[in-house]
Chain length 208, copies 2
């Protein structure tokens, strides 16, 4: 808390993200983009609608982002920065299970699940959105890969195990289940995904 | 070959699918739907354009299908029927590798890959398309599940192994790789997917 009296018109401390007006506009526009993607999907995205939701001038949105795919790409860059840190349990099985459950909870959440489906759709429609999506998943994999590298260092996995492949192997069945089956994305599915990735890694199926 | 002279105007034998005019119209419309999905994606689908590509009356397309999602659902039903039969090598490792390579070749093929991305997009946009997509993947899984069931019967896998889960585990990393990474979908990726699914199944990670 500030002990100095604030000049009139100053925002209440803590009520805005740091970084000034530009950062506040970006935060509002990205939040509006998320809302619109959740409600209407990628094909329903419209720059004018985003400006209105964000209470930002249309010109600002058109000048700064220009296209809906540029908006999605910027949202994905922001999501990569906001990505939750990994666990540090010291056990490969527990770390992979924590990772799987995080993915499962995210995809099973109505808002987050709809958001992820929408950005996957955007990535199939546009190469810039696809690159941004790939960078998002790369950041996620890089965050979690050390738990596999540490298991390799402890001698639990073959020395030439590819940590990124093991991390991707945890997520893959959960995404595939969401996209191709009517089956619920429950904790049991998460735990099976983690156990399968670990078993395959131990057997040397994820070597470079 | 027919030994009887054909009446004038008859189609050359073998040049049309069996089933008469209704089946010919459906085949032409579904082929046009495929072409349009490959070229323009699901969001670019338009019933009038499909009628023109298929050289079929617009009224027929509107009356028989009515919506682009109904078209996609019918295409998926047709794809489920045309799905290639599984291999019968007698070896679990070889059968899973054949399955993985079939998925990999399909997704890596420019036309088929674009088609699969388009129907995945359609399924995220519409519940009827999603149900049709789920039935397509169910048919694929049912086709390949017996190679896992036979390995269980031979005692190669734990008796309570879920064959469908093992078949899905082969495909999942290939779809996830296509959707979230810039990495090529090559034969090495297919072989790793098959080996990982087999190792996880042998370790009991795909039990019911």
């Amino acid at each position: 808390m500030s002990s100095e009296p604030l000049p009139p018109g100053s925002p209440t401390p803590g009520s805005v993200r740091p970084g000034g007006r530009t950062a506040r506009v970006r935060a509002a526009v990205l939040r509006a983009t998320e809302d619109a993607l959740v409600e209407r999907g990628f094909s329903g995205l419209d720059l004018g609608d985003i400006a209105q939701r964000a209470e930002v001038g249309r010109t600002t949105v058109y000048r700064r982002w220009g296209t809906t795919t540029a908006l999605v790409a910027d949202l994905l860059a922001d999501m990569a920065e906001q990505s939750l840190p990994r666990t540090h349990s010291g056990s490969l099985a527990e770390d992979l299970r924590a990772n799987a459950r995080l993915v499962q909870r995210t995809l099973a959440d109505p808002r987050q699940g709809a958001l992820f489906r929408a950005v996957l759709v955007a990535a199939t429609c546009d190469t810039d959105a696809a690159s941004a999506l790939q960078r998002f998943y790369r950041a996620r994999v890089d965050e979690w890969a050390p738990c596999v590298a540490e298991a390799v260092a402890r001698g639990e996995l073959p020395p030439d195990t590819d940590p990124a492949e093991v991390v991707r192997a945890v997520s893959a069945p959960l995404y595939y289940r969401m996209l191709t089956t009517p089956d619920p994305l429950d904790e049991a599915a998460a735990d099976r995904a983690a156990a399968a990735a670990e078993a395959a890694a131990r057997a040397g199926a994820h070597r470079r």
